[in-house]
Point group: C2
Chain length 234, copies 2
């Protein structure tokens, strides 16, 4: 399922916001204490309710974090890409992982035993500070999403979700911006609290307006600014 990857060169990660304003030696020390691993597409980094033992940094690839309810419906909480810290249970004193995280493509991640959180707090406070900054942004984004779910109707929510995907996980092509991993209509539905049918209808409408180009598990945004207008409710 996973195999050890070679030692990570600090210079490869030094420009991550997570390592902002840190010395190369400090970065090297942090990296040495973690373990780099490969994950195949579909592998789980961790599962909901499982005791939290490690925290992770994505070096290559994309993952989704999702929660499953008692009655079996899934909600995709967010996506993570290169340079992002995830599974940070110790940062917020959580004993168990609150969600499941799954590799969307083949990935490389570095993981640390939880105990290093507290030791980094002392030895590399700047690292912890940078980490909390990104955790804070996530909290703010969660609250934004609550507002969105409470006040906006489906079309705007879906437009927002697609826009977020293009920003976080998009790659430029000749024609527009392509989401860098397979996304189904069902996935979009689970990100926005609607059904795959409604998403499909919206995508059909949008692509016939030339706003985007869709395929099987493929989304390519052609006119991002028009999508942004939709997301703002026009």
């Amino acid at each position: 399922m996973q195999k050890k990857a070679p030692k990570i060169d600090p210079s490869l990660v030094a420009d991550f916001p997570l390592f902002l304003d840190m010395e190369k030696e400090a970065i090297a020390d942090i990296l040495e204490k973690g373990t780099a691993k490969h994950y195949k597409k579909g592998d789980h980094f961790f599962d909901q309710f499982e005791p939290a033992t490690h925290f992770f940094l994505m070096l290559d690839g994309y993952l989704e974090v999702s929660k499953t309810t008692e009655d079996g419906s899934q909600v995709i909480m967010r996506h993570f890409g290169v340079g992002e810290l995830f599974g940070v249970a110790p940062a917020i004193a959580q004993k168990n992982y609150p969600a499941t995280s799954r590799a969307l493509v083949d990935c490389v991640a570095i993981l640390w035993d939880n105990k290093f959180w507290d030791s980094f707090l002392v030895e590399h406070p700047r690292f912890i500070q940078n980490a909390y900054k990104s955790i804070g942004e996530r909290l703010a984004q969660s609250q934004e999403r609550i507002v969105e779910m409470s006040t906006e109707q489906v079309e705007r929510r879906v437009a927002h979700a697609v826009m977020r995907l293009t920003h976080q996980c998009g790659v430029k092509t000749e024609q527009g911006i392509l989401i860098d991993f397979p996304v189904s209509r069902q996935d979009i539905a689970e990100m926005t609290g609607t059904t795959l049918h409604t998403v499909s209808r919206l995508f059909s409408a949008w692509s016939s307006k030339g706003l985007m180009q869709v395929g099987r598990q493929k989304i390519e945004v052609l006119e991002a600014h028009k999508l942004a207008l939709l997301a703002q409710g026009h």
Copy 2:
């Protein structure tokens, strides 16, 4: 609008989870660096978008934190009561307050200049650790609410909201549990992403079933158990 309150006795706050496992002297030191203030019902502790200058601890009373959208709709994010830290922008490296907080009754709160966050980090790491634990719980609750908004229909969401209020802000009476501050149907609507009309209809139905007793800006839950079943979808 606000006036200084007398010095706070450490023993009054020593049993707050925030001060768990801390020495009396340490608590006294922290308290000394803050300023206690009275807030009248309706006063704002801080406003959305305003530069964040202080963080707060509620000593007496209740407040609500809400966000307003561009098109003017309000969403109540959460309520805080005695012993809870709020407005913790520096903890998560936020320059501005992401929401507005308003006193629901006359309150007493202690506030600290942001700069003390970093100094407490060094001088009283246990305090900061306790604080992050509660921030982590809030993040988890936010995510739970996203799941709720994505998958549950209105009746369950409203039942959940009322239950949360009884747990966080309820006082026992002879007949049941009373929410300890004025709550309108509109408020419940803003907590659940629905309209005051729908809330009113639900409350009518529930109180005619003897589940609760409602009045003008008053909610008293009589059969919490049955409400919990509704919240779980029965």
